[in-house]
Chain length 211, copies 2
């Protein structure tokens, strides 16, 4: 049975799930959620897909999961990929949580505020504050990647898939790859993986759709 992923192109959290599915070799298809038109808050979506209005959501037969990190774990369990070695399992989980806690949650929100809100509604003090916190996260990740090709161990794991979720998008949110050489090198490693696709090539939905 084909796995369905409710997602949209602009969503870095969706991208984590979509990239894991694509690279895992599992049979999957995206189902477009027109998030910017409120589709994730529609009565149908809340009733039939996710009662918290979350995106992404993975549906595989009777399994229905939200939160990209939980979806990634499910894909790992099903495909046998991206979990890292058994000795590294806590380290992988630690970086997935760090990402959810310190990087993606803030990058996603900041990118939304800076790009997807009308210009006159962008809270500048909030954006400035978030840019400062994000700089701390980039500093941490860049330092960790010194001398490393991957975040944990010697190959792609869920730690990489989680942390790269927002960093490959072109819209500004205070992240410039050229300023962070280790992050840049690591992102190139990801981009060179067999079967890798950019978020906007992997999922339906693009900012130009709303132009």
């Amino acid at each position: 049975m084909t796995i369905k992923l409710y997602c949209f192109g602009e969503s870095g959290n969706s991208y984590k799930a979509a990239l894991a599915l694509e690279l895992s070799g599992l049979d999957w298809e995206p189902v477009f959620v027109d998030f910017f038109k409120g589709a994730a808050r529609s009565a149908d979506y809340l009733e039939q897909v996710n009662n918290m209005g979350e995106v992404p959501v993975l549906v595989d037969g009777d399994i229905r999961l939200s939160q990209s990190g939980a979806i990634q774990q499910y894909i790992s369990d099903k495909s046998g990929k991206f979990a890292g070695s058994d000795a590294d399992k806590y380290e992988v989980l630690r970086w997935v949580l760090w990402d959810n806690h310190k990087l993606s949650s803030q990058a996603g929100m900041t990118r939304f505020l800076m790009n997807f809100l009308p210009e006159d509604k962008r809270p500048q003090e909030v954006i400035g504050f978030m840019l400062g916190r994000l700089k701390g996260a980039y500093t941490t990740l860049n330092a960790h990647l010194e001398g490393r090709d991957w975040i944990v161990g010697d190959g792609l794991t869920n730690a990489d898939i989680s942390c790269c979720g927002y960093l490959l998008y072109p819209e500004p949110f205070g992240f410039d790859r050229a300023e962070w050489p280790n992050i840049d090198r690591w992102l190139k490693n990801i981009e060179q993986l067999d079967g890798w696709k950019h978020p906007y090539d992997l999922m339906p939905g693009h900012p130009s759709d709303r132009a």
Copy 2:
């Protein structure tokens, strides 16, 4: 060997780890990190405990772990507790991630800004924005707990331990138990657990130490 937890009383993320250790029955002891005096950024701490300056950190023999969610998983694996049923494992992980992503990360920061920064340095627009986002998280959790005693299944899991991390603290951060009856009832279930302790009774460090 006694497990050591580097922690401090004001830290809700530390509390998640400390509460899991205390309720697990494992042998543990807190090691006070004088966070507000910069101890987590000291050269010794960065070199010997955690090179990212994170708190909490669990040390168990050769095992050294940061990120409360990863520590909780380790405690579950070691003690056999709080993981929920096998069928519920993704649901537990989903709520731990939701908490890290939507609840604790924002509650912790907002509580810090509202209480632990000097009054003249509190960014009011940021605080107001965060209070709005937190209200969304409380709404989600309160709705989920309608008719439920625990977040997942019929007993305490890491989902509960994660989500309660900041909600038992007295300092204001826009959360008033009286406004959220299902959350209030669920917190009472936690407080009535055999061996439960309040954060300030479980870990060294209290705001009055700095008065």
